[in-house]
Symmetry: D2
């Protein structure tokens, strides 16, 4: 996790929802995936000017191909947190997005890691090439 994203990073802020809490009284581990997803969707809309809804309308979607998450400390009930993400690499085959989730009140990292995304054709679920135009839009 040493290299920093080549491209811009963006930050979204969210709050833990009560239904995210599991039997250990902290945010359920798989839910952090969904926090990164929420951040990416928001950032695609606000910063890349190409919201997921636009991809879906064109018959495309982004799905996770590989994921790595390093959990450091848990978020709890009522916590506010930020999700910073940035593209590390992007090409016709897909992109790698690094992320870091920080607990707002302490500034400490809850977890970080990366996701490799590929683009799919939503009608048949098969992966498709990311077009040059899309690569350019995301290379900010």
């Amino acid at each position: 996790m040493n290299s920093s994203p080549k491209y811009s990073t963006f930050t979204s802020e969210f709050k833990v929802r009560p239904d995210d809490i599991d039997m250990f009284n902290h945010v359920h581990n798989s839910t952090y995936f969904d926090y990164v997803l929420a951040a990416r969707y928001e950032q695609m809309e606000l910063h890349y000017k190409m919201p997921m809804e636009e991809f879906l309308k064109q018959g495309y979607g982004w799905v996770v191909r590989t994921a790595f998450v390093d959990y450091k400390r848990a978020l709890g009930l009522g916590d506010t947190f930020t999700v910073e993400t940035g593209i590390e690499t992007i090409n016709s085959k897909g992109c790698r997005v690094k992320f870091s989730i920080k607990i707002s009140k302490t500034g400490k990292i809850a977890c970080d890691g990366w996701f490799d995304y590929v683009m799919i054709n939503t009608s048949n679920g098969k992966s498709v090439k990311v077009s040059d135009e899309m690569i350019q839009k995301y290379s900010v």
Copy 2:
């Protein structure tokens, strides 16, 4: 993902629940985490003779420290699947569990990867040493 688990592997079979399906009409990516969790709980009870409930009663819990998932093909509505897991390494600091989720009707892999677990004290959330007795129970 070349080395195989040193210890026994166990297999559980489950069925996709309708609420697991997301907007892409396949199982939501974070849900595979929960399938591995369900398999581990079942296998702790049936094969390691030390169910999670036992840990919880003693004031302990296992939580994920690091996770890696390689998604190969999606599970869909109505699919039955198996989750094979096995401990690769275990010591006083925790254990690494490898897993492989297979689509029952085709025998093909939906995703595989590994999870590093640490044991925590559920009253304060801090990690604790895995005792020799526990290591022995899990070294089958």
Copy 3:
């Protein structure tokens, strides 16, 4: 909740998944909805011979219009339970399904209630008339 379903009732058996447990160490209240959904899907396939996948292929889906749930006692980690459902009324506008979730080990009711379902056209989300053929298939 006094009148019993006019039509056949069917029973499915499931097990609580660890990710269903919330901060109160029992099954999260909204999750019982998903248990009823899972039972209906299984029963549509096994007993009504018209699985949801068939509806979806024809461009239709069933969605909840009104729901009533009476919680009596909570399901916990590791519990197995049954979901008994039966159609109370069905006509061209939709159907009312009564349900009862029982804890297997005690035979006691976890919750019961009913759901009113309407059929929708999945391409635009609008409700459509349930055909006579479908009503007949479901009037068993």
Copy 4:
């Protein structure tokens, strides 16, 4: 749904999270329960000056006893919505909370209904009497 709450109503605003969307491309029906829960927690903290964390520390929790939901129109990906809730009745046995979820961009109701809550002792899950002090705090 004609009578209005006797006590104050409060409004929280949230945004649909991508993982809330189900196979019908709208918010999954059981998720609206979680939206009401999120609103209540926020409002307990901001308006009743007694956050759930406070109840939990004292060994108490609020759980749903009965629920009624009337779905009118679905929320979709990217939608922002408000959850207005208000106590209709409260006594030593519990309280009834009415709610109404509105789609922000249209002002139309997504769903409304009510929840009956009882207070439980979190150590054994049994219901307990709501104290006069608590009733007073909530009778605003």
